[in-house]
Symmetry: C2
Subunit: 312 residues, 2 copies
Amino acid sequence: MRIGVDIMGSDHGPSVPALGAVMAARELSPDVTLVLIGDPASIETVLEKEGADRSRFEIVPSTDDITMSDNPTKALQTKPRSSISLGFGMMKSGQLDGFASTGNTGAMLVGSIFSVKPIAGVIRPCIPSIVPKEDGNYGILLDVGANADCKPDVLEQFGLLGAMFAKHVFHIDSPRVGLLNIGEEEKKGDILRQATYGLMKETDKYHFVGNVEGRDLFNGKADVFVTDGFTGNVVLKAVEAFHDLMKRHGVSDPFFDRFDYEGYGGLPVLGVNGNVIIGHGISNAITIKNMIKFTGDVINSKLNERIREALL
Amino acid sequence: MRIGVDIMGSDHGPSVPALGAVMAARELSPDVTLVLIGDPASIETVLEKEGADRSRFEIVPSTDDITMSDNPTKALQTKPRSSISLGFGMMKSGQLDGFASTGNTGAMLVGSIFSVKPIAGVIRPCIPSIVPKEDGNYGILLDVGANADCKPDVLEQFGLLGAMFAKHVFHIDSPRVGLLNIGEEEKKGDILRQATYGLMKETDKYHFVGNVEGRDLFNGKADVFVTDGFTGNVVLKAVEAFHDLMKRHGVSDPFFDRFDYEGYGGLPVLGVNGNVIIGHGISNAITIKNMIKFTGDVINSKLNERIREALL
């Protein structure tokens, strides 16, 4: 297995992702090669300092990297030697089984859609988020930002992508898919939700459990919460902000530590022909280690093959 | 001043709102008369038991009350002697300066729009929520559920309604109005947000500060957060659920107590010709006391006159 790691996408400079990769290699199975894409000198310094087993790494030099302020679409075209462009090029040509980056999210998304491309039958790829449940399990909320405007057929299909992710990566049997809405009854919600409900209740591709509300996010009513990328992003950021507020007020509780994304480190773009994992630029080395290991889990799950089969 | 109180809208039966009213009368100025609408025997029992000053109360008997499972529009038509129908009738004929209820929210909203009616120039009345800020101040999030589908001109006007509410009831000078979005730049968001931004930046009716995100809800970037009733409701319920989770896990912190709605007890319908305050059916007597006092605050603020003037 070959996992590409973007070394240039960290807010803390290249040494942090390089260190995360060294830590990941120590915990991953020996058949995993980490392809480190970035500034060779910075990478070499970290590998040397850490006494890393060089046989586990390949270095692909990048130049002119995509920054957080770059326009995603333009940057991928004008910076072909950037770490993100190189990563997608290698994904496309089959040289990588997965690619993980904490860099420009927009560029990662554009690369996913226009370089590795959507799986045949996927209308709109999307980004899920993981929501800890009160009972110790995890729920999936999607989309959280890839698609601000969604049509009913897109939301209906997010149910399938979310169910596949929950089943094959989180090992939840027959995930219960709910439509995030502002009331439980079938006729509740805006026009989009009413039309989507009609499509979801007819599907035989997953187990639809009806409408769920914002208050159900952390309880046991559903495993997958389907929403448009606008609502999903606003809700996710509001809950994250509330959690940050708790932490800043010194409120500490092991249950709420599960709300930290550090445990898995990144999230896949669902519905594209490749295992693309996006993390946060502020991640520390341990979080990046977890993101790389999670990339391995997603590759091993054969999630994309399962999505392809489900869409046949 | 005459405040109507729905005695029949509590999940706990009529004695709880009656007790809340007795407690409110003791704290309100002596010129306030509370008009208790409900079952006379239940009300008399509480007034007697509490040794209440009878000169502060009037009793209006109701029958056949609207329940939580009633269809709001139908119930108002078919149950003219219910406490909610009677309250709106008295509002319309000028016998009440305000009306507070913890009953069927839909019926309260339908009554507000079809009985007391929108203020001339208001496109769509809405319901705000109060969000505690980290700095000790309060923010206003609106709409939180009255309008699932909104057009740009509706959202633009929510900015005005929210700014008026923040200014006249919460005494925030020149409230900063933000558009709740999924990025800060002008072109971010879905089609609705992009069109709304264009309208808001042209307004001279309030101080527009641009896009704000879910993560800004509790910080100092804006005083008013404008969104459609779908997104607002989902976000509000998700944050409330997270707060409930904190409480259930025994996490206690005085800062977070401010997230309990008990302190104000209810919220006004903004943009209608009357002071209509909606509370939660689960409220205890103290919360209902606070809702009634808050109704008095809203009446005293002359909020609706200020909205009328602003729309001229």
